[in-house]
């Protein structure tokens, strides 16, 4: 049981490039989330999904897109990378009962130069 798996662990992008951050969970969780974490700023919600085919914006969605074609996968897409998107990105998931804690992956550290 791997939990939440994120790839890649590290990536350096040039301004204007695009990339997809991958997230997979094997716990059959309905809810999935993408956060970014900047130093001293805590976790900010980018997008979330309550099930396959259903996604919605979080607090800081600009510059990002998501899709949820399966229960397991929730990729995050950066279309035109900007320096402000330099951050650590975390994917999380939990069960449909909102009392359940979120399970996090170990993050993708992304630098835009």
């Amino acid at each position: 049981n791997a939990g939440v798996t994120q790839t890649p662990k590290f990536r350096i992008l040039k301004i204007g490039q695009s990339m997809t951050l991958q997230c997979t969970q094997d716990m059959n969780h309905n809810y999935m989330y993408w956060y970014r974490q900047d130093p001293g700023m805590g976790l900010k919600l980018i997008y979330y999904s309550v099930g396959a085919g259903i996604t919605d914006k979080g607090e800081v969605p600009n510059g990002y897109n998501v899709s949820r074609s399966t229960t397991e996968d929730f990729p995050l897409r950066l279309e035109l990378a900007a320096p402000s998107q330099t951050s650590v990105y975390f994917c999380a998931s939990n069960l449909v009962d909102s009392n359940q804690p979120q399970h996090f992956g170990d993050g993708t550290r992304l630098s835009i130069l």
Binding site: G42, V50, G58, N94, Q100, P101, Q102
Partner: protein, 114 residues
């Protein structure tokens, strides 16, 4: 606007002492509050959940209190050990149609010195 603040960025204590971390919130009526631990280079890991109608929750050396009048949660680690050194995050769930979404504080870095 809604705001969550953890009382300090960093807390340094001696081994064996009790560490107390604070989480304050404004313009919020959370249904419950969670505490997470985060080690460098890793994702947060869930520790404890406390509901709005609960005053206190315990798990081994950990204790969480929740005061909805003061709009504050305290997180205690008793008999602290160097292995407890990490960043601790509080997170609030508003309930209703929030779809499981949590709002996180900025975290407190705890260092336990031998």
């Amino acid at each position: 606007s809604q705001k969550i603040e953890q009382n300090s960025e960093a807390l340094n204590i001696q081994e064996g002492k009790t560490a107390t971390l604070t989480c304050n919130y404004t313009n919020y009526s959370p249904a419950y509050l969670q505490w997470y631990r985060q080690d460098p280079g890793r994702g947060p890991v869930f520790l404890l959940l406390i509901r709005e109608n609960e005053k206190e929750k315990r798990k081994e050396r950990l204790k969480v209190t929740f005061d909805t009048t003061l709009k504050q949660s305290l997180f205690h680690i008793t008999a602290s050990q160097p292995a407890d050194s990490a960043t601790y995050l509080c997170a609030l769930f508003a309930g209703g149609t929030s779809y499981g979404k949590l709002t996180f504080g900025q975290g407190t870095i705890l260092t336990v010195h031998p």
